[in-house]
Amino acid sequence: MLNFIQVLFDAAALGSLYALVALAIGLVFGIMRLINFAQGDYLTIGAYALVVPTASVTPPLLFGALPWPLMVAGVLATCIIVALLTERIAFRPLRNANPATLLISSFAVSYFIQHALMLVHTGRPKSIAMGSSLAQAIDIFGVRIPGVQLVTMTVTVSLLIGFVILLKKTAIGIQMRAAAENFQMARLLGVRANKVIAFGFALSGFLAGIVSLLLVAQTGTLDIKMGIMPVIFAFFATVIGGMGSLAGAALGGFLVGVTSVLLQAYLPPDLRAFRDAGVFALVILVLLVRPKGLIPSSASRERV
């Protein structure tokens, strides 16, 4: 029983992380039909901003050396700036392209960022000592929960609440929802396209910064490809949840994370290595049964 609760906590923590990335992808998709594959690379850049660019395996700290509020602010600002830059340079000229073209262009942006980072930081994985106080486990009724997991879950829940308030109560939030519902109509009613899209990208950069900090605190390593797996899972999470539906994205993220951890824990050992294949098969299955995802939104309609 205790073991089961522990597994549940692992599942919820991983699910939260995926939910945050999925939320960022869902936000941008809702507004401009772009599945932003570069989302993972925003978080890689955020993580690399912690250290000074050198070829060393244990590099000296850059933002990582600052007191933590400044460090968090530095990483978040880096991610937001990168997200805005990619929007301005790569995605804005393509705004009216079809979703497949946009997806290809986001692949190109992702490929660019990865290899540009490799030019600066070299391709070797690096280790970084950070957040060691978070790594300690906390004992709650005999269940040992790593501090990072608690922080991850707390941050996710508060961010989700924050997002709901932002989208329901503020002017920019309502404009974003309107743009996601019907972009043309929203523009006719005076919503400024550039502003709303830029704000969506800024939010996705913000989320990428949070996730990169949580990931680094968890693993203590930096890798050029560290963003790929989270973004793949989150990407499939948005598909499962319903493209463009934010609640769906968060739900899908949780589902993917939970499925992945449960399969890892309860599959027979021979099959455990194939766990991820099971998660990906789930994506195809959901798409077949509910092509518009679990929580469909108007954004999932193809525009004619």
């Binding site: 262009s105 692949f107 190109a108 660019f112 294949a277």
Partner: protein, 349 residues
């Protein structure tokens, strides 16, 4: 009559003749490294033409096609490779593969056919979806196959490389297969099925209303492109003599898609031209990365520049010339009089 046939076949011949000249030059005068670059580019042509058969005709972008290359590459490796080590390193193989070695030609053909069967089976499920959902599920398929082949240790040796395949691929063989792939692609595209599929690409609703089954047309193209991808996989395996599952993953997907997009994904000429242009650019960058001597000084650009430049080229083409270099046209018959324009446009239909 002969002229008519020549005109009909021109979109393929017009591509093959310059390629033949390049291969001939490389074969006669080029160094070994040039010869290898040319062979590699020809194999890429087979790959991208395979992609084109499905993506170009149906308009659905697929991210999963390199999986079929992997399937064929492994299938041919099981049949032709390392008879002494096979029973130990790949103990999970069925007996007829584990303790026998087959000649390369039947092995290659059966491997390509296996790839097309795999494409058919995956297509049965994936082609039910359309638009962006179809693209996403092909990506999911890519990941599924990657996970399975990386972990099926007893059959695929996991992520380790299989070494010691017979390397029989010469520039001329690669050229012959590239020609075959182009002929297959062209015949499909001017066939009634190809035409129907192109109609669904332009307007799915109208095509359905005209009685075209989008599902079956796409499935046919998917299977055929699986076959050509399989041919590419076999060539790839027997060119390098070694395969590993991670060669057939995101990076190869990206490079081949770049080639297709840069050339123009709506025509066969675009697919081939894209490969030639991008191969040329990457080859030069690769040589610069390993160092060139300029007036006695050794100059090398940092590793990774090749990919950065590639990504920038891709973005520039997407932004400024979305239909690619060829804008979706085929090579036109060069001796056409004004009034026969409708005829020369035939290949474009």
């Amino acid at each position: 009559m002969v002229l008519r046939l020549l005109k009909q076949a021109w979109p393929v011949l017009g591509l093959l003749l310059p390629l033949a000249v390049i291969v001939l030059l490389a074969d006669q005068f080029g160094s070994i490294s040039v010869e290898r670059s040319v062979t590699e580019a020809l194999i890429k042509i087979v790959t991208v033409v395979g992609l084109y058969i499905f993506i170009g005709n149906s308009g659905v972008v697929s991210f999963g096609h390199v999986s079929f290359m992997a399937i064929a590459a492994y299938a041919t490796a099981w049949q032709t490779c390392c008879s002494a080590l096979k029973p130990i390193t790949m103990s999970g193989l069925p007996d007829f593969l584990r303790s026998h070695t087959y000649p390369v030609l039947p092995a290659g053909i059966s491997a390509a056919i296996l790839a097309s069967i795999a494409a058919f089976v995956f297509g049965l499920i994936l082609m039910r979806l359309s638009g962006i959902a179809a693209s996403i599920s092909t990506l999911a398929a890519l990941f599924i196959l990657n996970v399975v082949y990386s972990n099926w240790d007893k059959v695929t040796m996991g992520t380790a490389s299989i070494v010691g395949l017979p390397t029989y691929v010469t520039p001329w063989l690669a050229f012959a297969v590239a020609g075959l792939a182009m002929v297959i692609a062209y015949l499909f595209q001017i066939s009634s099925w190809g035409l129907a599929l192109r109609a669904t690409r332009e307007d799915e609703v109208a095509a359905r209303a005209s009685g075209i089954s989008v599902y079956w047309m796409r499935l046919a193209a998917f299977t055929l492109s699986g076959l050509v991808m399989g041919m590419a996989g076999v060539l790839h395996a027997h060119f390098l003599g070694t395969i590993s599952v991670d060669t057939f993953f995101l990076s190869l997907t990206f490079i081949t898609l770049t080639m297709l997009v840069v050339g123009g994904m709506r025509s066969l000429s675009g697919a081939v031209l894209g490969v030639v242009v991008i191969s040329f650019v990457t080859d030069i960058l690769r040589r610069m990365e390993s160092g060139v001597s300029v007036s006695g000084q050794e100059i090398a650009i940092p590793a990774g520049s090749q990919e950065v430049v590639l990504a920038v080229v891709m973005l520039l083409v997407l932004i400024f010339r979305r239909d690619g270099l060829t804008k979706g046209r085929e090579f036109a018959w060069p001796f056409a009089r004004r009034q026969s324009i409708s005829e020369t446009k035939h290949g474009d239909a």
